[in-house]
């Protein structure tokens, strides 16, 4: 009896202590989202989680995209690191897993993870272990301004091949319209051209072979040809004046202001251009058109192959269990549906895409659904050291300071140096 009472007392004390500990839990969540409307929803989600989980505080921190990438290695090795961080999966994630700075959350998300699109979850899985949860999918393609396209008598729906695109650029130029806007200072928006051409020319087999160093690796024919075709476009001078000095948000704003006919962008631009336009209104849904990246005749890539991102959240080493719990809450069907309803994301939780309510985002979701090969952005999937070289050489081809052949060789040299 006495023993029981002692045990009971001990249990009570333990419970009390646990409760005290729980009361002090802060989940630090580092994000890179620049669209205030979306951040506002996130804030609301965080606050509602706090309300239903007393004692847990979710603290949001923000870093700009490029600054975030640059600081990440240091952040992750700091003792005061955030618990939840943004990720594009791919080679960077792999390096982080190898370095042991992430928590293996496989057991914590067991069962729950079934609700997520398998391909998206696979991007955050390594050797059967889950290291993060995806939050959104995206596709890279040409977003266009209906009015400006009409002004130059270009039919976006008719742009199917690379030559069609070149012809469209010529017609737009002849009509006095800036054909394409791009944020060249950030380099990665330019790499979309080079990588998407490679996806169209060589498809998945070429990429996988290059990763293994076969067929000349990234110095091989496929990748030289993508540089050459990109050069064809560059030679038409399709971009806005001073494009190498434009940062991506500037370029997106420029498109939102209706100053250029097209931009090769991530599908999330649909909302972003509104937030970044000078008038904060941007182009409404009926003024925007979309066409998939044109095919290259004779190319081995399928017409439905997509290039894009699989973004998600990682939990850093030594984080409180509430971090994963919050993530599960954040990537629940309810919240995903809500974000989809605002057309901020193409959701990854099954069934949440029912929330999508405009034709643009529905089209992207449908594209992704029928894609057999979704290539993650090269600069992410190749890891920081090689991926950044892809960005570099794309910018150099665009600036005319490097030949397509040398560009392909530079990437292969970086792959060989490795990291």
């Amino acid at each position: 009896m006495r023993l029981l009472r002692k045990l009971g007392l001990a249990a009570a004390v333990c419970l009390l202590l646990v409760d005290v500990a729980a009361a002090n839990t802060t989940v630090k969540w580092l994000h890179i989202e620049v669209n205030p409307a979306q951040v506002k929803i996130w804030e609301e989600v965080a606050r509602s989680y706090e309300a239903s989980h007393p004692g847990v505080t979710v603290e949001m921190q923000f870093l700009e995209n490029e600054a975030y990438k640059a600081k990440l290695p240091t952040i992750l090795q700091s003792k005061d690191r955030p618990n939840i961080i943004y990720s594009w999966a791919g080679g960077v994630l792999k390096a982080q897993i190898e370095a042991g700075v992430l928590d293996d959350i496989t057991d914590q998300v067991k069962g729950y993870s079934d609700s997520i699109t398998p391909a998206a979850l696979a991007a955050f899985t390594s050797d059967g272990r889950v290291y993060g949860l995806p939050v959104a999918l995206s596709q890279v393609g040409f977003v266009c301004n209906k009015e400006l396209m009409a002004k130059a008598k270009v039919d976006p729906a008719a742009i199917k091949t690379w030559d069609d695109l070149l012809a469209a650029v010529k017609m737009l130029k002849a009509a006095g319209v800036t054909p394409i806007v791009v944020g060249g200072a950030d380099k990665w928006p330019l790499h979309f051209y080079w990588t998407h051409l490679a996806v169209r020319i060589g498809g998945k087999p070429a990429f996988d072979a290059a990763l293994r160093g076969e067929n000349g690796g990234f110095a091989g024919e496929t990748f030289q040809k993508s540089g050459e075709l990109f050069k064809q476009l560059v030679d038409l001078q399709p971009f806005q004046n001073g494009f190498l000095g434009f940062k991506n948000p500037q370029a997106v704003g420029y498109f939102g202001d209706g100053k250029a006919a097209m931009t090769l962008a991530i599908s999330s631009i649909y909302n972003l251009q509104r937030a970044l336009a000078a008038d904060k209104v941007g182009l409404s849904e009926d003024k925007i058109c979309w066409f998939d990246f044109p095919v290259v005749p004779g190319g081995k890539g399928g017409q439905t192959d997509t290039l894009g991102g699989i973004t998600g959240w990682l939990v850093t080493k030594g984080s409180p269990k509430e971090a994963v719990d919050f993530l599960k809450y954040f990537i629940s069907k309810d919240v995903q549906t809500r974000l989809a309803a605002g057309n901020y994301i193409i959701p990854v939780v099954q069934g949440a895409d029912a929330g999508l309510n405009n034709s643009f985002m529905k089209l992207i979701a449908a594209n992704l659904a029928k894609s057999d090969y979704h290539q993650n952005f090269y600069d992410q999937s190749l890891g920081p050291s090689v991926g950044r070289v892809v960005n570099d050489v794309s910018a150099e081809i665009a600036g005319g300071s490097m030949s397509p052949q040398d560009a392909a060789k530079a990437i292969e040299a970086a792959r060989k140096q490795g990291n």
Partner: protein, 313 residues
């Protein structure tokens, strides 16, 4: 270090704090006490904050390492070879050379000319001095941001000036031909005030009687300037040159907000090149190798300069 401590003891520290030593004069004994007392903290700090980080960088430069965990993949001197094989490295080195050249050939003469005009006392001299000194006080990052707006080809000041002449404005920071030029202008604008202040301070402490004597002997104003004032300023000029060159070698924070070293690496300096590779690209070993190369250049320069030009100071 040891020599300076010896001087301190000879000049009176020993006399006041260690009277016995003073009675016996600045003997080895006294100096030794000072050495024991003052050397260890300095040596400790120097080791901790100078020797160790440099040693660490040199150590990391031997690894192929992405900055996560501990480095394990030893590749010897390969990183140095990779650096030297990179075109962007030589571009960065060339840019550093350009910055030094412009600092010496444009910035310092400009600073000296202004100093000669503003060193005299006249109404508004102080205000003008402050005005010219202002850019130096401004944070580098802010300077960069301000000028990235000034240079903007669509909305910037440069663009509107261009438009008044009816020409299509250039995007200075977006062209491989003009980016480094645009950066150089900002550098001159930002730092000439600092050198001007150095020169003004030196001019004001000059012995006026020498100039007066020259004038009485019939020297014209420009002759007095050339044969008396400038030679008297030599020590300051040498110091100014030293600051200008070392500053140029280390230049980073003006470049980043303006161009981040682009387009196509055309405006990289050694340090921005280091940052772009070592940090952004997570090639810590490679970045360390660049750091070590830069360190060697700086140290070689500093010692050579000390030996050849600043022997007397």
């Amino acid at each position: 270090m040891a020599r300076r401590i010896a001087i301190v003891s000879a000049m009176g520290v020993a006399d006041e704090t260690v009277p016995q030593a003073a009675i016996r004069g600045p003997s080895w004994d006294g100096r030794f006490t000072v050495l024991i007392l003052f050397l260890p903290p300095a040596l400790l700090l120097f080791t901790l904050f100078v020797v160790l980080p440099i040693g660490e960088a040199a150590w990391y430069s031997g690894f192929n390492w992405n900055g996560f965990g501990r480095p394990t993949n030893w590749i010897g001197f390969d990183n140095y070879r990779f650096v030297l094989e990179t075109r962007a490295f030589w571009l960065a080195l060339r840019n550093n050379g350009l910055i030094i050249a412009v600092s010496l050939a444009v910035q310092l003469p400009l600073a000296l000319t202004l100093a000669l005009m503003l060193a005299e006392r006249f109404r508004g001299a102080v205000a003008l001095r402050m005005l010219f000194f202002m850019p130096y006080i401004l944070a580098e990052i802010a300077t960069g941001l301000i000028f990235s707006f000034v240079y903007d080809g669509d909305y910037g000041l440069v663009a509107s000036i261009w438009r008044t002449f009816g020409a299509e404005p250039p995007h200075l920071l977006a062209s491989t031909d003009t980016a480094i030029l645009a950066v150089l202008i900002v550098i001159v604008w930002k730092y000439f005030g600092f050198h001007m202040m150095l020169f003004i301070a030196a001019l004001q402490s000059l012995d006026k009687s020498l100039i007066e004597a020259a004038r009485i002997d019939g020297a014209t104003r420009s002759q007095a300037l050339r044969h008396v004032v400038i030679p008297l300023l030599y020590p300051t000029i040498r110091l100014s040159m030293f600051f200008a060159i070392v500053g140029s070698l280390q230049l980073f924070d003006v470049v980043m907000p303006l161009t981040r070293g682009g387009p196509a690496d055309s405006s990289n300096t050694m340090v921005s090149f280091l940052y772009n590779n070592g940090i952004s690209r997570m090639r810590v070993g490679y970045g360390s190798a660049i750091g070590v190369i830069l360190f060697v250049i700086c140290v070689t320069f500093a010692f050579t300069y000390q030996r050849w030009f600043m022997r007397d100071e």
